[in-house]
């Protein structure tokens, strides 16, 4: 196999790990060593040319070749079967619609979340149920970390350098979930976004960490607490719109469906009711106002909201479809809201997973 990466001779694991730490090639955690045998197995499993490039990874522009991505996937703990998911995630991240350059360098805390859909999620053991955003599952952890290591080593998205996140969040180590498709009354995310039913796909969306929502009861009660949780004045959406993710657990979704609510109904209600009076939004300060004005001048903030009318109620997104709804987690009392980066980018992009 034609591999062109620099080869390093080391005596043992300890020496290799110290070398990776000295060269800042890892995120702070130990790695699986990218031996030639492991890297070749990764590439062979995907059936791709090792020198095929998915494009330059911003901000520093290192080419995302299959070989380099395979090396980082090995480091993150992936098996060859996981690698097509990593490749699809990188393809999605490098779509200009996502604005990875901005996502990786903003002072905001958004991190791209990788959402896996389709039969491959169950086959590879991705968690979509209890503790979905947490630890304990190799597929979520390894794919999530492989993506982050690729952004680190190829994009140079390193804190104190190009990554200017003020606080960031723990998803910078790994941020990957699967949608629960079996215990789910609605069409899954990737089908809503145009993929055929039964196909495999990855969606990336840059967002904050999950905000807990104590969400249980009738549809009206759940919507009451969800809408309030979505329009906090601290999130970017409230000031410059963009997109937002709402994660309902299977029991929430079942209750909505049992009472005749489609996912579109829920989304529409959330968009119409997760709003704040402009006076409350404006009271946040002059900088927020300037961002809003900048976005409006640039044509990215809808003109239909009269910002000078105190009765105007501002939504969290320009359109209902900018609120993404995913079903995941345990059958319990809690949902989650994950605000995005605002109108600046990080928007959801979906790509099919190409199996070998």
């Amino acid at each position: 196999m034609n591999l062109i990466s620099e080869r390093l001779d080391v005596d043992d694991y300890d020496e290799a790990m110290e070398l990776f730490y000295q060269r800042n090639w890892t995120d702070g955690l130990p790695i699986v060593l990218p031996t030639r045998r492991r890297v070749e197995a990764m590439i062979a499993g995907a059936g791709r040319d090792p020198q095929e490039s998915l494009g330059p990874v911003p901000p520093k522009g290192g080419p995302a070749t299959v070989e380099k991505l395979a090396i980082n996937a090995v480091m993150g703990g992936c098996l060859p079967a996981h690698f097509p998911v990593v490749l699809a995630a990188l393809e999605a991240l490098l779509d200009p619609a996502h604005n990875l350059n901005g996502v990786s360098q903003t002072t905001h805390m958004c991190v791209p979340l990788v959402i896996v859909n389709g039969p491959i999620a169950r086959e590879l053991g991705f968690n979509s149920r209890d503790g979905v955003f947490g630890n304990g599952y190799r597929a979520n952890a390894a794919v999530g970390r492989a993506v982050r290591l690729a952004l680190w080593n190829l994009g140079g998205a390193v804190p104190w350098d190009t990554d200017k996140a003020t606080l960031s969040h723990p998803g910078e180590y790994a941020f990957c979930i699967a949608e629960e498709e079996e215990d789910n009354p609605w069409a899954p995310l990737h089908v809503e976004r145009g993929c055929p039913p039964g196909s495999d796909a990855v969606t990336v969306f840059a967002c904050e960490g999950p905000h807990s929502v104590f969400c249980y009861g009738t549809p009206e009660e759940m919507l009451h607490v969800l809408t309030d949780s979505m329009c906090g004045l601290g999130n970017n959406n409230m000031h410059v719109m963009g997109q937002m993710l709402v994660v309902l657990n299977p029991l929430n979704a079942e209750e909505f469906a049992r009472r005749g609510w489609s996912k579109t109904d829920v989304r529409r209600y959330l968009w119409e009711h997760a709003r704040r009076p402009i006076e409350q939004v404006r009271a946040c300060g002059v900088v927020h106002e300037q961002f809003r004005k900048m976005e409006r001048d640039a044509g990215r903030y809808p003109l239909r909201y009269d910002l000078d009318n105190p009765t105007t109620r501002i939504p969290v997104s320009a359109e209902p479809d900018d609120i993404h709804i995913v079903v995941a987690g345990g059958r319990s009392y809690f949902a989650a809201v994950l605000p995005g980066w605002g109108g600046f980018g990080g928007f959801a992009v979906t790509r099919a997973i190409r199996r070998a």
Binding site: R7, V10, R23, R36, K68, G102, L154
Partner: protein, 89 residues
């Protein structure tokens, strides 16, 4: 044991950059802004002219969260001997 590097080799030094202006007096400075804080940029423009004798060419990039498009970079390079390429918060 042989392992593979996860990064690309560091790029070599690029082509030679034009000499920096030795003084702001009489120089033209491109001021690339995203219109986030127009009064601040206007004040900076005033100071560059009044205090340092520089001429300012104001340019507005379409997004503060994405790199300037190539034509804007070329315009700044053609019009000025130095540029302020970003004003961040």
């Amino acid at each position: 044991m042989e392992i593979l590097s996860p990064v690309w080799p560091a790029p070599g030094a690029g082509g030679s950059a034009p000499a920096r202006p030795r003084t702001l007096a009489g120089a033209t400075i491109a001021l690339v802004d995203d219109n986030l804080d127009i009064p601040f940029t206007t004040h900076l423009e005033m100071l560059l002219g009044r205090e340092h004798g520089a001429a300012v060419r104001r340019l507005v990039k379409p997004s503060g969260t994405a790199p300037s498009p190539r034509p804007l970079i070329d315009e700044a390079a053609a019009a000025a001997s130095a540029a302020v390429v970003g004003i961040g918060l």
